[in-house]
């Protein structure tokens, strides 16, 4: 390609402008490849206007001539091309959707026991469950379901506040949970210490035995929910106090028995209110099912 500096005046047309008496401007043509690309984009734009939604016209717009085939009420229908119909098509017939539907339909029709017994269905429910867990549950219960005390219990141990059967887990995922232990501010001073010691002694911790035995009488009011033997009640979400699982308290983080006792005293005085949202509006029944299998599997379930 010739540079304009190689050219002598008169070889190339100038624009005709003259500055300072002798300064002129060459009127070099645009490179052909550039010019034709430019014309091609214009042609492309016109084709695009005709094919796709483009021009606003008063209160509506030109929808374009392109169409998509989607399934509606069991029939294949032609609909105008737009991003929302494209979405419907993607949900119905993209390779990933088709492949997944094969399994979701199987899982949807199977009982929990059948899913567990079938290696393919189980693997599918596990991997879908892991994704759902990451999106919906991990923010509170941790990426591995390890929980985050004091507010968000572990799902990876085999202690179930509200029951660990498939049916219970599924129900709780759908409807959510509201845990509520009332506060007992009237229990004070030595009575409180004795009661806390008694509670700690239930799970075999070394505490002041005399104090603990004095606290036993005070436990009567706790027994309404936690049971006389302190083994809890999954109908009320009342935890088992004898198993050292401590789903509400960060007992492992406590330095010594005194610190552990203070935690128990704090709970007695202030109560505990916890809430888990329900997911029935957010997740489909089959998603709840797969998530149930995943959560159940985290610890072996009941």
């Amino acid at each position: 390609m010739a540079l304009s500096s190689d050219k002598k005046p008169g070889q190339v047309e100038t624009t005709g402008h003259v500055w300072d008496g002798d300064l002129r401007e060459y009127n070099n043509p645009l490179p052909r490849w550039w010019l034709w690309t430019f014309y091609a984009t214009i042609v492309f734009a016109v084709v695009y206007w005709i094919m796709y939604p483009a021009w606003p016209v008063f209160k509506t717009f030109t929808p374009g001539m392109a169409s998509l085939t989607i399934e509606q009420d069991g029939k294949e229908v032609q609909v105008p091309w737009n991003s929302r119909n494209l979405f419907i098509q993607e949900m119905q017939s993209s390779p990933a959707a088709v492949r997944q539907r094969e399994f979701t339909e199987k899982v949807s029709n199977a009982s929990f026991e059948q899913i567990i017994a079938d290696p393919n269905m189980l693997a599918f429910a596990r991997s879908m469950g892991a994704g759902l867990f990451g999106d919906n549950c991990a923010a509170c219960h941790g990426q591995g379901g390890q929980g985050n005390l004091p507010s968000y219990p572990s799902l990876a141990d085999n202690e179930w506040l509200w029951g660990g059967s498939f049916e219970m887990i599924s129900k709780d995922l759908q409807n959510g949970l509201k845990g509520n232990m009332p506060a007992f501010p009237s229990v004070k001073g030595e009575a409180l210490t004795d009661l806390a010691n008694y509670v700690l002694s239930m799970s075999g911790l070394e505490v002041d035995a005399a104090s603990a035995s004095r606290g036993k009488a005070g436990f009567a009011m706790c027994a309404a929910c936690h049971g006389v033997d302190g083994k809890g009640n999954p109908m009320l979400g009342a935890p088992n106090l004898t198993d050292m699982a401590w789903s509400n308290l960060d007992m492992m983080g406590a330095q010594n028995v005194d610190a552990k006792r203070k935690m128990v005293e704090h709970v007695v005085t202030n109560g505990i209110q916890r809430e888990m949202p329900g997911f029935s509006n957010r997740l489909t029944p089959v998603e709840i099912k797969m998530l149930t299998v995943y959560v159940h599997e985290l610890s072996g379930g009941q």
Binding site: T60, F61, N82, R84, F87, S94, D135, A139, C140, P277
Partner: protein, 244 residues
């Protein structure tokens, strides 16, 4: 007129340049003001209550939009993670809207009712306490600061001027009763705004302290209603596609 006379006359060049750009701009923008076909007719969309609106102001003040979009796009992967794609109707009372595609954090268009109020409070105070791998900054002052709401009526008046149907007169109030129901119309009535905000803040345990009205109350109230207004079970996908 010769092209040269345009090129050598700066005043004329400016006038003609502005004219050409204006025509281009008007052709692109004006028809959009008149298109009614693209805003979906759905039940449930309403203006923000005073407490939610203050929370939205804080959301903007803290720059949440720099990392979080509020626009779920119509793709299968987004549907699976975030839920139904966002509708135009869902942000028709948003000034300014919070659309976007810049997602350093996840999209929050359907965050409402996903987590508990307590979670939101703890998470905003220290995100890493709940999500160790999170890179979100902490906003502990939301819990410390008392919410400033003595100007809530003026804020609502300003929004009303942009077309948000907050009510001042009895007629406007009646229209809201028809459109949004009595209970919501009361909340959208500007003369009641302060009392409404106080009742909202104290009526639910947003930040763990019912008595004090903090910025956290407003923020959590806003986050907990995001994307919850439309009941998508009532509509089929074909209906929404007819608006495109």
């Amino acid at each position: 007129m010769k092209h040269e006379s345009v090129e050598i006359n700066a005043g004329l060049l400016i006038v003609l340049t502005l004219t050409v750009i204006s025509i281009g701009g008007l052709v692109e923008i004006v028809p959009l003001f008149h298109i009614k076909d693209t805003v979906e007719e759905v039940k449930g969309v309403r203006p923000y209550t005073p407490l939610e609106q203050r929370g939205r102001d804080l959301y903007i003040r803290e720059g949440c939009y720099a990392c979080h979009s509020q626009m779920i796009r119509p793709f299968r992967d987004e549907f699976l993670r975030y839920g139904h794609y966002s509708l135009a109707a869902e942000s028709k009372y948003d000034h300014p809207f919070q659309w976007g595609s810049k997602r350093t954090g996840p999209d929050v268009a359907r965050l409402g009712n996903k987590y508990s109020d307590q979670w939101h409070t703890e998470h905003l105070v220290k995100p890493q306490a709940l999500v160790p791998e999170s890179i979100m900054p902490a906003y502990p002052w939301l819990l410390k600061n008392d919410l400033k709401y003595d100007d809530i009526e003026n804020r609502m008046r300003a929004l009303k001027a942009t077309g948000v149907p907050y009510s001042l007169t009895a007629d406007e109030y009646q229209a809201n009763v028809t459109n949004f129901g009595q209970a919501m119309a009361d909340k959208l009535h500007i003369p009641n705004a302060k009392a409404t905000l106080e009742a909202e803040a104290k009526g639910r345990n947003w930040d763990g302290d019912k008595d004090r009205i903090t910025e956290m109350d407003a923020m959590v109230a806003y986050l907990q209603m995001l994307g919850t207004l439309v009941d998508f079970k009532k509509y089929d996908q074909g209906y929404f596609a007819s608006f495109r």
